[in-house]
């Protein structure tokens, strides 16, 4: 135990920069504790997503389900770089961030299965999970970006030194509302880190077929940008720290492009192999898997042992299994919940049901 190396420095890939004199450091320090923590986080997200896949195929989860496996380093790296009091908003591939922002696997899976124990009592589903300083989970592509700029405005307005991280994908990068947000964020120097998770495909459309420019980190034009290796949790962390510091220093918004990859198709109804080859997926898995990369670093620098990591894996599997048990046995929300939460801070009101004789109750 005390044989382990307590801390090591790693070389990380240099980021491409846009309108910046210098980028994040090319060396990252990692303590053993941090290493184990990042490993646990990524592995938990990985196992949770694979469990969701399983539950979906058993038809216990229904509707939309967009899985995050492959992209774990992004969520883990960002969370490692920001404070819990900072804010984060993302699109529909949100389960990873829901976890890193503090919601338990139990509450996430129970939300996916539509039960009362879900973080949104089963009323939201996959794309609508929330937590303090985590604003979902958003179904309409790109809509979360202006929201993120607005959250940043609130931070600036309140002078609380907090920042907002607003995530979007390569597909959403072509939404007009992003450019409107970039303009206002730059104009008003909002403390917003815009992050493009470029996983190379917007549903079934590759980046080359959707974007005239695939240099997503430059798309903010007058906004400085960084292009980051999104498969390396340390790279992501250093870049996110750099970006957060930039915002906190009052310099205005900044864009980060994380080059990453999703193993699953766009959603559970997309096999994910009609527009890309199995060889490509396999290549990424074998050469760039974020969890494997971290594991190799820890092992080859004697920062952890094989047995220790195996033990962690076992614990994680157990936790995910228990969460799945809960998620499949918890009851569905009662019908009384149907009309609640329409208005906030309102006295109870009557809501029309499906016919004029059906009068339902709504409480705030």
């Amino acid at each position: 135990l005390s044989d382990f190396t307590p801390q090591a420095t790693f070389d990380i890939k240099k980021c491409d920069v846009h309108r910046l004199e210098a980028g994040p450091p090319v060396k990252a320090e990692l303590t053993r504790e941090q290493g184990l923590q990042y490993y646990r986080t990524m592995q938990m997200v990985r196992r949770m997503e694979l469990k969701a896949d399983q539950l979906y195929k058993q038809k216990i989860i229904r509707g939309f389900c967009h899985l995050y496996d492959g992209q774990e380093a992004c969520a883990a790296g960002i969370e490692a770089a920001i404070n819990p009091s900072d804010h984060l908003i993302t699109a529909y591939r949100a389960h990873g961030y829901t976890y890193t922002r503090g919601v338990s696997v139990r509450e996430i899976l129970a939300e996916l299965t539509g039960r009362i124990g879900g973080v949104a009592k089963g009323k939201g589903g996959s794309m609508h999970m929330y937590a303090p300083h985590f604003y979902g989970g958003n179904g309409i592509v790109g809509a979360q970006v202006p929201l993120g700029a607005g959250i940043a405005l609130a931070c600036q307005y309140q002078g609380n030194n907090q920042i907002c991280v607003a995530l979007y994908g390569d597909g959403a990068a072509n939404q007009g509302q992003l450019f409107e947000s970039f303009n206002m964020a730059a104009l008003w120097k909002l403390p917003c880190v815009f992050i493009c998770e470029n996983n190379k495909y917007g549903m079934g459309t590759s980046v080359e077929r959707a974007s005239a420019s695939t240099d997503y980190y430059k798309r903010g034009d007058f906004i400085p940008g960084l292009r980051v290796d999104g498969m390396d949790v340390l790279c992501v962390r250093e870049a996110a720290r750099f970006a957060a510091d930039h915002c906190r220093a009052g310099k205005g918004p900044i864009i980060m492009e994380l080059q990453t990859y999703r193993y699953h198709g766009h959603s559970m109804s997309d096999p994910g192999v009609s527009y890309r080859t199995r060889e490509e997926i396999q290549e990424v898995r074998s050469k760039s898997d974020p969890i494997s990369l971290l594991k190799e670093r820890l092992l080859s620098n004697n920062m952890a042992s094989v047995e220790e990591l195996k033990e962690i894996d076992i614990q994680i599997r157990k936790e995910v299994e228990e969460a799945a048990q809960f998620a499949t046995s918890d009851p569905e929300p009662p019908l009384e919940e149907l009309c609640n939460h329409i208005f906030s801070n309102n006295p109870p009101l009557e809501v029309r049901g499906t016919n004029p004789w059906s009068k339902l109750k709504s409480i705030s």
């Binding site: 539509g114 009592k121 309409i140 072509n174 549903m203 527009y275 919940e337 809501v351």
Partner: protein, 325 residues
């Protein structure tokens, strides 16, 4: 329905808001079963073949064969020029489609779901729908906007003023097969916009559109066993609405129930109530009953979702209450 899609595409200047649904409950012997998806696919294929000004654009319509596979095979057959994959830029590509229509082409603009169409609503209403009127007939906009209208019916999707056709489909119906007559299989078979269809004949009139026509027919089957005969009207077109058809029916039955998936306030049923009062008030033996979605956002949990939309039992209940039986 393939016929109504063809009708939109050919009608040029005229345009309407149509709720797609249902079928071909035809009296001539049914030759073949066609799913809703295939009917839409065939309609688009036939129009693409017939008129080279017709083209399809939208997200994933080409190489992915359509998010819901409605445009399967079309890109393979017609290529990049006629079947265009767009980036995720609804407002932009809706505007582009409208511009192309103004300049002489016949675009089919697909919204992956109508929830996304709300981003483009300005182009649909102000650029597409109103232009023929504002130009006093000089500038027409022969465009069809189509796509699945989810259960949480986008408020925006139910408004479309004249002269642009908005074809609202229902994703849950794509895989459902219907029997179609031989006649309807012809490439030139069209059905008129603005004409409802009476599905069965009597004591009470049920008016519906889209997926809920099926629910009405199911309810009618149950009620028939109890001696209550329902005349089921499939609106097919929301604007212009075939009020004459409803009126004619109410004059016979004296009772009316409307059924829809949308919200009650300012919905199709509300409009029918207002419209039917004018010609047929004295024919009504009871107030019109609206069966609608519950007045809430759509919840996720299955049990809540099921209870937020009209079920067959709600229709049966409402019919009996309206008839006071």
């Amino acid at each position: 329905m393939a016929a109504s899609l063809r009708c939109f595409l050919r009608s040029g200047k005229r345009a309407v808001l149509v709720a797609v649904r249902r079928g071909f409950h035809s009296s001539s012997p049914a030759a073949v079963q066609v799913t809703v998806r295939d009917a839409l696919n065939q309609a688009m294929d036939e129009e693409l073949e017939r008129d080279e000004r017709v083209f399809l654009l939208g997200e994933e319509v080409a190489q992915y064969d359509g998010a819901y596979k409605v445009s399967r095979g079309l890109w393979k057959k017609y290529g990049d020029k006629r079947i265009i994959d767009t980036p995720i830029s609804e407002m932009g590509f809706a505007g582009i489609a409208v511009g192309a229509a103004m300049a002489g082409l016949r675009p089919i603009c697909e919204f992956m779901t109508f929830n996304f169409s709300m981003q483009a609503i300005d182009q649909v209403i102000n650029s597409a729908a109103k232009t023929y009127y504002m130009s006093a007939g000089l500038q027409s906009v022969p465009i069809v906007f189509r796509g699945p209208n989810g259960a949480s019916a986008g408020v925006a999707a139910q408004h479309s003023q004249c002269f642009a056709a908005v074809f609202l489909e229902n994703e849950l119906m794509y895989g459902v097969p219907f029997e179609v007559s031989d006649e309807s299989q012809s490439k030139d078979f069209t059905i008129p916009i603005g004409k409802a269809k009476v599905e069965r004949q009597s004591h009470i009139t049920l008016v519906s559109h889209s997926r809920f026509v099926g629910h009405c027919l199911d309810a009618a089957a149950v009620l028939a066993k109890e001696g209550v005969d329902c005349e089921v009207i499939n609106l097919r077109t929301i604007r212009p609405m075939d009020v004459e058809c409803i009126e004619g029916s109410v004059m016979k039955t004296n009772h009316l129930v409307t059924v829809e998936g949308g919200w009650p306030q300012f919905g199709v049923g509300a409009e029918i109530c207002a419209r039917i009062m004018e010609p047929a008030f004295n024919f009504l033996d009871a107030p019109v009953t609206r069966v609608t979605g519950v007045d809430i956002p759509m919840p996720y949990a299955k049990i809540l979702e099921e209870n937020s939309l009209p079920q067959v039992k709600d229709i049966i209940f409402s019919v009996k209450k309206t008839l006071n039986v």
